[in-house]
Symmetry: C2
């Protein structure tokens, strides 16, 4: 059972890498459907689940009178529920057979399955161009606003990972292969990545 996880900077084309790689290898591909599964399983709203996974969970600070030295850190119950269901579901997907999973902390959650972990990144200009192409709804945003949005989403991903692991999101040390998609057509890169991944699993 070969598990490939794709972590990616927002706008770098990580999802395209994941989908094409899964197709090239004949593996299952999981991405947004994980959100829907978590929503179904937890009884929570899909938009809320996506929001929690995107921003990273945040503690509530509990203030009590008369016990000023006791301030336990509490995470909102529904956010913990999202995390817990996320872990179950991602492990369940891995158990089904070889697959490519994009995002959702899979590289950490599936550590004991020895996944092949890829990080996809690109320079700012390439990510801006990709966002503009992909999402006409961001047309009203200036480049500066779009860059801010990309940063915010990536920071949420990093924060989410800090809760789960000491391996830092985006540090090359946390991955087996880091792929810079600036200025290249992703589909041409897939045979190389496919062969690399196969060799890695075989090695």
């Amino acid at each position: 059972m070969n598990i490939i996880t794709i972590s990616r900077e927002f706008g770098s084309g990580g999802r395209e890498v994941g989908k094409r790689l899964a197709d090239a290898l004949g593996y299952a591909y999981y991405d947004k459907e994980i959100i829907l599964e978590i929503a179904k399983e937890s009884g929570l709203d899909a938009a809320y689940v996506e929001h929690v996974l995107q921003k990273g969970i945040t503690p509530n600070y509990s203030y009590t009178f008369g016990r000023t030295f006791y301030q336990p850190v509490l995470f909102p119950e529904n956010e913990l529920k999202v995390l817990s269901v996320q872990q179950q579901i991602i492990k369940g997907l891995a158990e089904k057979g070889s697959c490519v999973i994009v995002g959702r902390g899979a590289s950490i959650i599936l550590e004991k399955y020895h996944p092949f972990n890829i990080f996809v990144y690109a320079d700012k200009e390439a990510k801006l161009a990709r966002c503009r192409n992909r999402a006409p709804e961001s047309e009203h945003l200036s480049d500066q606003e779009l860059v801010k949005q990309m940063k915010r989403i990536d920071q949420g991903r990093a924060k989410h990972q800090r809760l789960l692991s000491d391996l830092r999101w985006g540090d090359k040390e946390s991955y087996h292969l880091c792929v810079n998609t600036s200025g290249v057509d992703i589909k041409h890169l897939i045979p190389g990545i496919r062969d690399y991944a196969k060799a890695w699993f075989g090695a």
Copy 2:
């Protein structure tokens, strides 16, 4: 003309990646011979040239009496000579035809040739094991001493690059592909890297 540069952490197997990749592509391969060429061309000793390139060049501070506000930063003349000859030689090699160049600041020096830049890295344990295998002369060093030596050499490489460029040594953003060799047999990874590089040049 396709130029591939390999930057690498000490002990990560970057030289093996470079040599095997050059063989797989039928490209020329340049590594230590660059040192010898620089020595020949500059009339300086090869060991000195290697030392300068490894540690990064260091300014001499000129102290003058009576002009306390004027302290120009001076680089030793022979170190500047090494850098200057290095640039000529590396450009000369690139002009000869497709090649793989390991280290020696080639990714920066050859920027206008649009090289495909690979960074090779590995975790501490894998690098220690590789050093032990490769260099029986380090047998007298403890693991701790060997790690210190590896760090010192990598810091020299980073320092050398800071002189030449704003792109930071070892930051994934400075490369097109970052390859983690921990726990894998490098020769199996080569076909994937070869196809990736070919597609990158074609894209």
